[in-house]
Symmetry: C2
Subunit: 255 residues, 2 copies
């Protein structure tokens, strides 16, 4: 089993889109995949066709009430793809989690208790913040994927994310690795091309070879409640997230 | 004096870009403007050419240490435009604020203590979250501007933002008004045009007439540490944010 956290303090960099699309592409390859929505916005839940207000048990119950993990997993209509949805219970998680002792390991504890584990991959969507909720995801993760746009504010946020990884490694999860993923790239845009080159120089192997370009079909797929690989299987977005899934598979084999 | 909070739980919708560009356009019209950076990412601070790590007194000191407001204001190189910068002190504000009694009114209390008030407009950039920091901005605001992209997740976030306004009105600031601002619009994109029409039907007068379209110059201006009105005064971004500043002036006159 391999756990991936998708996180970046910067907002709007395609964290949710990457969690959903990468997850769906891994499921298509035959892996059993669990997606976890840790964002109070519940965008991942919405994008899979669920109405967050109608969700009974959620990631909020898992983190705040220590409900067993398998009891909050929901089947989706997509093969090999299950979800732990978010609902309004996650709204106060940022304030309520720090009241508990060892609050940063509640998700990891919940995952470790599951035996046998039915999933090969767990992929976690995080809110745009560095706080108690994101720490839970990082404590449980083998790999942190940091989606980033090739833009100034996004590139600057990587500084805080590197500091976060160092602190997680020294405090609770020494073996967490990271990979930066360039998303929403517009090849025709000069600033995008310049910053992309800078990222490649700065991060080298720390950057996925796969790059996700702008594809308006990725904006449309949440409206119909389907991952891009189901909504428009031949779109640029589908192809690029499939290549990313294969690159991740290769990376995991080498670990 | 008129206080505007720029907030949306959804990430990457141009909150920082709007705070900076609208503030600069109001300063150009001759108004004395104070910008306040309440986001731990410190993007507004960065976009005005400051290095957040070199900032001595910050918005963190204002909210957490009750330092007087005028002592944390910094001059910028732009006429009529001053800033309360953010630094790493804001990182823990979300967890530390709720410890204080009446934590949601600390910013408003700090503003009310200033006499005489040298600024005509205060514009506050918020982090992508609904929490203690954003509540401080809303408690102090006459108007909440909600930047939104014409995309599915952004439009969905407006539901939570409307609930937030209702709660702020019933708990602490009964007269707060709101206006939704469409940002980053790509007129050639069908999904953008459809959602824009839906927003106009749903919000009517609650929507600014001014719409901000995609303009890559807005991505570039933070790199040189200048607002768009100084970096590229004849760009589409400059023109549209100037029109927005005039629409806001008109709106304030009618209050
Ligand atoms: N490659 C892409 N091409 C075009 N649009 C994209 C792409 N990836 C994501 N988007 C759109 O960009 C917006 C931001 O993406 P998304 O919501 O996934 O980011 P996020 O990092 O999860 O945001 P938040 O910080 O609010 O959680 C969404 O409207 C999404 O549909
Ligand atoms: N009209 C526009 N045209 C093109 N790019 C834009 C426009 N407005 C903002 N941007 C760019 O889009 C990105 C997101 O904008 P910005 O950072 O201002 O959003 P935000 O809501 O403040 O994000 P966060 O939620 O992280 O605080 C930035 O890289 C910015 O330069
Ligand atoms: Mg998201
Ligand atoms: Mg911002």
């Amino acid at each position: 089993m391999y756990t991936v956290a998708i996180s970046n303090e910067k907002g709007g960099v395609a964290k949710t889109t990457t969690t959903l699309s990468l997850g769906a592409a891994l499921a298509e390859l035959g892996h059993k995949v669990l997606l976890i929505d840790l964002d109070p916005q519940a965008n991942l839940t919405l994008a899979l066709g669920f109405e967050p207000n109608n969700v009974a048990l959620s990631s909020g119950d898992l983190l705040l009430e220590s409900v067993p993990l398998l009891s909050v997993c929901q089947k989706t209509t997509f093969e090999n793809l299950e979800l732990i949805p978010a609902n309004s219970k996650m709204d106060r998680a940022e304030q309520l989690l720090p009241i508990h002792l060892n609050y940063a390991s509640r998700l990891n504890d919940a995952i470790q208790e599951v035996s046998p584990m039915p999933y090969e991959y767990i992929i976690i969507d995080c809110p745009p913040a560095i706080g108690a909720v994101t720490r839970n995801a990082l404590d449980a993760a083998n790999l942190l994927i940091i989606p980033t746009q090739a833009e100034y504010f996004s590139a600057y946020a990587l500084r805080d994310m590197m500091a976060l990884i160092r602190s997680v490694r020294s405090e609770s999860n020494p073996s967490i690795a990271y990979r930066v993923l360039i998303t929403m790239l517009d090849q025709r845009n000069r600033a995008h091309r310049t910053i992309r080159e800078q990222l490649q120089t700065t991060f080298g192997d720390g950057l996925f070879e796969t790059i996700i370009e702008i594809d308006t079909k990725l904006r449309e797929s949440p409206i119909v409640g389907m991952p891009i690989t189901e909504y428009k299987p031949n779109s640029r977005g589908s192809k690029q997230y499939r290549v990313l899934a294969q690159e991740l598979e290769e990376y995991v084999k080498q670990q």
